[in-house]
Amino acid sequence: MTVRTQSILWVAQRASAAVLALCVATHLATMIYAVRGGLTAAEILARTQGNTAWFAFYSLFVAAIAVHVPIGLRAVFGEWLDWRGASRDAVLCFLALFLFFFGMRAVLGVFQ
């Protein structure tokens, strides 16, 4: 992997962290609000299904996770397990796709 790519990954890690800070705060606040209000699952689904704003928000959340987690684990694997090189990066590319696929599957589950 080139130094340029490594540096792009670092910037992506920081940018996705900034997005996640907002997303996690919004998500937690919404969860607490929903539970306090005593909403049922059916009532929550009634609010999320077809709601493009929530769909866009959680799609962004999932994309940020799919970017942030594998890059963070890349450093953890290198420094803690001494696992570096192409095999590590290939596994983490797969993890990014895995997180994005199943994350979006969940988002679509409450949107459709």
């Binding site: 130094v3 490594q6 910037v11 920081r14 290198g78 420094e79 803690w80």
Partner: protein
């Protein structure tokens, strides 16, 4: 006369601590203690020093678990219950006893493009640098490094990633990035970016806490991170 119980590392990577009893004196430094052991108790003890006044950066050792410059560290400050443990610097191969192999440490300065590259020939006049310019102020804050290796020895990222250039080399690169006479900035930025460079710093700040010259390599590394980020976003890295 009171005495000091000193345990000193003997051997190479594998070895053991050896106990010595050293007379206590007023204003005694850790280097004084090591020198007493070598001159009076055991002449086979290997250690390194030169100036004895905090200029050369030769005498750094691990004292009671912390890297320190021993010539300027008073025993009063570090001894606990009149006892002290002295070991070679961490993160460097041990040659023998308290002497470490510093080659990798200084090779990394070269890898970080730690050499000045000017554009003027000797026929031209000196380039003037205003002392109050922001770049020169940044250089002043970081330029007094004596290359003792205390920061490198204290850095957990070096321990986890042996390729990591380390605080001293990156601090050197930072002083050159801020030197307005230097023309190798783009090349140097490529040398200090990436997994082995400034982007791997965890900002633990051990280097800043332990630097005997009160330099903050962490600040310089943060500056390099900013430069790398902006350069890569411009597509120029």
């Amino acid at each position: 006369m009171s005495t000091l119980q000193v345990r000193v590392w003997r051997g190479g990577a594998k070895g053991a601590f050896q106990a010595f009893e050293v007379p206590r004196h007023a204003s005694q430094t850790v280097l004084d203690v090591v020198t007493h052991i070598q001159r009076v108790l055991d002449p086979t003890l290997a250690y390194r020093f030169a100036c004895r006044v905090g200029m050369c950066g030769s005498c750094a050792m691990t004292v009671n678990g912390q890297a320190r410059w021993t010539c300027r560290t008073h025993v009063d400050k570090v001894a606990k219950n009149d006892a002290m443990e002295i070991a070679p610097l961490r993160n460097l191969p041990v040659i023998r006893d308290l002497v470490t192999d510093m080659r990798e440490f200084f090779d990394k300065w070269a890898r970080a493009k730690g050499q000045f590259s000017g554009s003027l020939s000797k026929k031209e006049d000196f380039q003037k640098v205003k002392p109050e310019s922001p770049d020169r102020v940044a250089v002043d804050a970081a330029i007094e490094c004596i290359g003792c290796g205390v920061c490198y020895s204290s850095c957990d990222v070096v321990a986890a990633n042996p390729d990591y250039l380390g605080p001293a080399a990156l601090n050197r690169a930072w002083t050159l990035q801020k030197d307005e006479r230097d023309v190798a900035g783009a090349e140097r930025l490529r040398a200090v970016a990436g997994d082995a460079g400034c982007l791997s710093c965890h900002t633990h700040m051990s280097c800043t806490e332990r630097c005997p010259k009160q330099i903050s390599p962490t600040a310089g590394i943060a500056g390099l991170k900013r430069e790398v980020s902006l350069t890569v976003l411009r597509g120029e890295l």
